[in-house]
């Protein structure tokens, strides 16, 4: 039986795909939550009671207040405040901006890079394909956290460095996914037809094959964004990720860790909850996307 990847959805089919997606209520709810998180992160400067990184707005007398306490400035610390008197709600929303931004940026770059490498590998075949796939195998046999740690240990810290590290650990997934799908597409009649018409290899690869391998790629990308966000948070927690000037959720959690043993759980608990809800929502949306875009592709873990 031939594997079928759906051709890119024409605009008339998009509502259909949307209805398919919404039929799973859990996924629809996850998408709603994810949209809310995105909106809140983008609108953070407008909706937070305090700019958490404007030192003039912080009051040390407000530090380490429990959730629900009143701030000196009049508003309420719904999720408490940290050791600087920073409102946790504001800090989390600003942290989400950074976490989501780094996750999305690194995924986009890795997607572009891995996609190109995978397409070239599949189309060229031969020794080049062999070499690239050996590299991919080699890299995927090591856990991403280890590779990222090593890279950061070598190149040092900073926002750009962590994006590089996240791109580096992700590209191989895309390269492998795209290559697998492109190998199937390569044998199709339309590619033969394009070749007969003497189109350049570049045109065939990017204009003909690429659109047909997008659906599985989108699915992998969704899951990878969650993965990238979690990895960035872990690295930041270990003190090797984001610099103190760009406090992502991971840094907020690390900062709260010091206060955990004295019972002030909220400083690291709530940023962690925000991280968890974001990751779960993305994973649920990704799972559903996979079912809708490609019913034949079974789950990564066989469930």
């Amino acid at each position: 039986m031939k594997t079928t990847f759906l051709i890119p959805l024409p605009s008339s089919l998009l509502p259909q795909a949307g209805r398919d997606f919404a039929r799973d209520r859990v996924a629809a709810a996850a998408l709603a939550v994810l949209s809310l998180i995105l909106l809140a992160a983008i609108a953070a400067p407008l909706i937070t009671p305090q700019d958490p990184y404007d030192l003039a707005r912080l009051d040390i007398l407000d530090s380490k207040l429990a959730p629900g306490a009143k701030a000196g400035a009049g508003f309420t610390f719904w999720l408490g405040s940290d050791d600087q008197g920073r409102d946790m709600v504001s800090a989390i929303l600003y942290g989400l901006r950074i976490s989501l931004g780094v996750g999305a940026l690194s995924t986009a770059v890795a997607l572009g890079l891995g996609m190109t490498i995978g397409l070239v590998s599949a189309y060229a075949g031969g020794w080049l394909d062999n070499l690239i796939m050996r590299l991919v195998d080699l890299q995927l046999s090591f856990p991403s956290i280890l590779i990222a740690l090593v890279l950061l240990a070598v190149v040092g810290q900073g926002v750009d460095k962590i994006v590089i590290a996240l791109v580096f650990v992700q590209w191989a997934y895309y390269a492998r996914t795209v290559r697998g799908a492109a190998l199937v597409e390569k044998r199709r009649e339309y590619v033969d037809a394009a070749r007969v018409m003497a189109f350049s290899a570049r045109r065939i690869v990017f204009r003909h094959i690429l659109p047909n391998v997008l659906p599985p790629l989108i699915v992998v990308a969704t899951v990878q964004v969650a993965h990238a966000i979690a990895l960035e948070a872990t690295l930041s927690f270990l003190g090797l990720g984001m610099p103190i000037t760009s406090p992502s959720l991971g840094l907020l959690i690390a900062n709260g860790f010091a206060h955990l043993l004295s019972g002030r759980y909220w400083i690291s608990f709530f940023p962690g909850m925000a991280l968890l809800v974001t990751i779960v929502a993305i994973n649920l949306v990704g799972d559903r996307l996979r079912d809708v875009l490609n019913p034949r592709l079974t789950s990564h873990y066989g469930a």
Partner: protein, 325 residues
């Protein structure tokens, strides 16, 4: 079989060389070790002398040769911070990490296989669904945050378990271990649970998927039609057949457990080699970083080799496929 083993061994050695070259280029060629090794107040003459002493004025391939021959002899330089050979420092910390990783693996296997089996046998029951939902959560929860939650609940709120350290150890065959003392067990429990969580979720899913697949096979239906009890069918026919992928994955994942121990050890201040790596990165103790990397690459390659060979021995089909190809 022998030919296969030999080929596989040659491959592993090739991978080791490639990785050692990558580590070498990454650590020695991209960064300049002189900046870190030499006192910043040193003048030009001192820098030149130190560069010569470290062999950094040699051509790159020459340096690589020195590095590899040193590595083969187990000499990867001295730790700047501790001033003892880096390899020895890591080997001293290794038993703690191995103990933690083994404990985590045992927890994952002992809990994961029965739970996965249950979820696979009763996929539509409430308990089956709860198990699956739990495993999805286990995949999504960042390891380090689960560690924090464990400390928060069991150490801060309940006060049952100590939050950090390894506790009292007993020396068995020259290796200190925690799991033989009550105090050591109390220290081991939380880090091991934390490290096990991800693998537990993975094993649940794997076992469940394998069980469901096996249940739909003809030989299971035939065994049931023959009048065998469900219990016997599961124990003899289903379990036996899903064991091969489970054993493989469990083996392969052992390496990643050791790598993930970096995070768990940092949270629980467990004195293993993962925590040593983070500490070394923070003080730029390069020889230790390099030694850690080479040792972990070696562990990974060894695990992959052993699992591959075991797999081939367990499942003759793999061997046959390899021969015809």
């Amino acid at each position: 079989m022998l030919v296969f083993a030999f080929k596989r061994l040659a491959q592993s050695i090739a991978v080791l060389f490639v990785m050692s070259a990558l580590v070498f280029v990454g650590v020695y060629a991209i960064g300049n070790p002189v900046d870190i090794l030499i006192n910043p107040q040193a003048d030009q003459a001192e820098i030149a002398a130190a560069t010569r002493a470290l062999g950094l004025d040699q051509p790159l391939w020459n340096q690589y040769w020195t590095f590899v021959s040193g590595a083969l002899a187990g000499d990867l330089g001295k730790s700047f911070a501790a001033n003892i050979p880096a390899v020895r420092l890591i080997l001293e910390r290794m038993p703690a990490t191995l103990e933690l990783a083994l404990a985590a693996m045992v927890i994952a296997v002992v809990l994961g296989i029965p739970l996965g089996l249950w979820a696979g046998l009763k996929p539509d029951s409430v308990s089956g669904r709860v198990i699956m939902a739990g495993s999805i959560l286990g995949f999504s929860l960042p390891t380090f945050w689960v560690g924090l939650l464990l400390i928060m609940v069991f150490s801060v709120w309940l006060g049952w378990l100590p939050p950090t350290g390894r506790g009292e150890t007993v020396t068995v065959l020259g290796v200190p271990v925690s799991f033989l003392t009550w105090d050591g067990l109390k220290h081991l429990f939380m880090p091991a649970m934390n490290l096990a969580l991800f693998k537990l979720s993975l094993l649940i899913r794997l076992t469940r998927a394998g069980t469901r697949e096996a249940l739909a096979q003809d030989y299971v239906r035939f065994a049931r039609a023959k009048g065998l009890s469900m219990e016997r069918v599961v124990r003899v026919h289903v379990l036996k057949n899903i064991m091969i992928p489970i054993v493989t994955v469990t083996g392969l994942e052992f390496g990643s457990v050791i790598a993930f121990a970096i995070v768990t050890e940092t949270i629980f201040a467990w004195p293993g080699m993962g925590k040593l790596l983070i500490d070394s990165i923070n003080v730029l103790d390069r020889p230790v970083i390099v030694a850690y990397l080479l040792i972990i690459v070696l562990i990974f390659v060894l695990i992959n080799l052993i699992v591959d060979l075991a797999y081939t021995a367990l499942d003759p089909r793999v061997r046959l496929a390899g021969r015809s190809a």
